[in-house]
């Protein structure tokens, strides 16, 4: 299917069925791609983006899961802070870009601030929901067995909420990559997002397309890896495992 589409695309461009001034043929994109790999440019940009994604996602999910657990466990904390979180959550992270730029300039810091702000929420909301949904019956079991609060958290609440927590972290990863690319396009002159923009400005559509397709492949690959990891984590949760494929 994909191959047929690529062939059709090649034919359209080569025989000029429809004319676009800057639409490159797949063969052109492939050879530009080869050049980017050979020069090491693509690797450099990839490493930068991966670095930002790894740090951003780790911090965002750690914060999100941590806050989500506290909010899920304590009705008092929810009462006093949930309104504030619900105010902050819908604000589009990209709107903070000028502010972040003023504070941190065109830098990795700006990129990370945007990534973390955007990808915090799925982890937080899903963790909170998962913790709040642990059945009251399980809590009664824990009380009747005289488990301490810490034991209840580790042995009952977290495992019971783990499907939601894992889902939240996966959703965060999707946003992390999106925000990294956007931040690199606008606020940090490094990485794959910057590469796409600079090839655009240099009027190098073949190289630009190579980067765009490459970013798509990375997104698919990351999702695949995370799905495998979450299935491994949830291997004992039969009721949710199927939904995570």
């Amino acid at each position: 299917m994909l191959v047929a589409l690529a062939l059709l695309w090649e034919a359209v461009v080569r025989f000029k069925f429809i004319e676009f001034e800057y639409l490159p043929a797949p063969s052109g994109i492939l050879s530009a791609w080869g050049g980017l790999i050979a020069s090491g440019e693509m690797l450099d940009q990839t490493l930068h983006t991966f670095y930002a994604v790894a740090i951003g996602w780790t911090v965002a999910t750690a914060l999100g899961v941590g806050l989500g657990i506290v909010l899920g466990l304590s009705a008092t904390v929810r009462k006093w802070s949930l309104a504030s979180f619900e105010m902050l959550r819908p604000l589009p992270a990209i709107a903070f870009l000028p502010l972040a730029l003023l504070l941190f300039n065109f830098s990795l810091k700006t990129e990370l601030v945007l990534i973390i702000y955007a990808s915090l929420w799925p982890a937080l909301v899903n963790t909170m929901g998962g913790v709040m949904n642990v059945s009251s019956q399980l809590r009664d079991v824990s009380k009747s067995m005289r488990l301490t609060r810490m034991q209840t958290l580790i042995k009952i609440v977290l495992p019971a909420a783990s499907p939601s927590i894992v889902t939240g972290c996966r959703l965060s990863m999707g946003l992390t990559l999106v925000m990294a690319i956007i931040a690199e396009m606008l606020a940090n002159p490094h990485g794959l997002g910057y590469a796409v923009i600079s090839e655009l400005q240099a009027i190098q559509p073949q190289r630009m397309f190579a980067y765009i397709i490459y970013i798509g492949l990375i997104a698919i690959g990351l999702n695949y890896i995370l799905t495998r990891i979450s299935n491994a984590i949830l291997r004992n949760h039969p009721h949710v495992r199927g939904q995570n494929v």
Binding site: S144, A160, N236
Partner: protein
């Protein structure tokens, strides 16, 4: 059995217990006075809405009493007491679905006993309920009856002084129920544990109990307290056909009808 038990020490002592629950401070239980003797099998029978489960939660320390006194081993109950464990009706929601059978049974022992003793006690408890061959299975791989056995084993592994059971066989089919009743009586005869067993099944209450308490309501009150002098060990066919069994069944049935009329008159 009941007369022998009466000479033994009381484990639970309930005196004029009243329970009101928010949000409306509705009265759920009133004037509950009862005691549970060491090794006794006490069944509590009543219709729905008579406060059976609430009474069990009070005994289990999950719900504090509004007034009156509740002592366990001479101590005032302020929370779940050491040596008292509840077995819940809904086994599928009471088991940790992500843990194996053995992992579930070990839940209350982890961090409290040595790993050798833990293994020993888990194996013993599972043998008592006949699940020694399914230790590595997950709850969702077991039938309902087996899952309830896991929950019972988990409670037994703690070697409790009292097991509080909230309609544990209510969701099981008749054949499984009969098997589990006999297994439970077998376990009861081999350990010194006392039981408070809640049911809405009159026959089950008579078959299992050394003593039956009839709860009526709402609000829940004790309408009668009947000693069951049937010979032990009990046997599904023989015991259930004894004239004494049938007479007790009829008597308790009549008591429940009376309690319904009385509750109706109160409200």
């Amino acid at each position: 059995m009941a007369t022998a038990a009466a000479t033994k020490r009381a484990i639970f002592e309930c005196l004029d217990v009243r329970l009101e629950l928010p949000p409306l401070q509705r009265c759920i239980l009133e004037g509950i006075t009862l005691d549970l003797r060491e090794g006794e099998f006490l069944t509590i029978v009543g219709g729905s809405g008579t406060g059976k489960t609430s009474l069990l939660r009070v005994l289990g320390g999950l719900t504090p009493v509004t007034s009156g006194s509740l002592l366990f081993g001479g101590q005032k109950v302020t929370g779940p007491a050491d040596g008292v464990v509840i077995v819940f009706q809904d086994y599928s929601r009471a088991l940790l679905q992500w843990r194996t059978v053995a992992g579930n049974v070990a839940l209350g022992l982890e961090g409290r006993v040595s790993s050798a003793e833990l293994k020993d006690r888990v194996a013993n408890a599972l043998e008592m309920v006949g699940l020694e061959k399914r230790t590595e299975d997950y709850p969702w791989q077991l039938s309902g009856g087996m899952q309830q056995r896991v929950q019972i084993a988990r409670a037994l592994a703690l070697q409790p002084a009292v097991l509080l059971m909230d309609e544990p066989f209510g969701a099981l089919d008749a054949m499984t129920k009969a098997t589990l009743q006999d297994e439970l009586l077998g376990v009861h005869s081999r350990t010194g544990t006392s039981y408070v067993f809640i049911t809405h099944d009159i026959e089950e209450a008579v078959y299992l109990g050394d003593r039956v308490i009839v709860l009526g309501g709402p609000p829940g009150r004790i309408y009668n307290n009947i000693a069951i002098d049937l010979p032990s060990p009990r046997e599904q066919i023989v015991t259930r056909q004894m004239p004494e069994f049938l007479a007790l069944r009829a008597e308790i049935h009549a008591e429940i009808e009376k309690s319904k009329l009385a509750a109706h008159a109160v409200s």
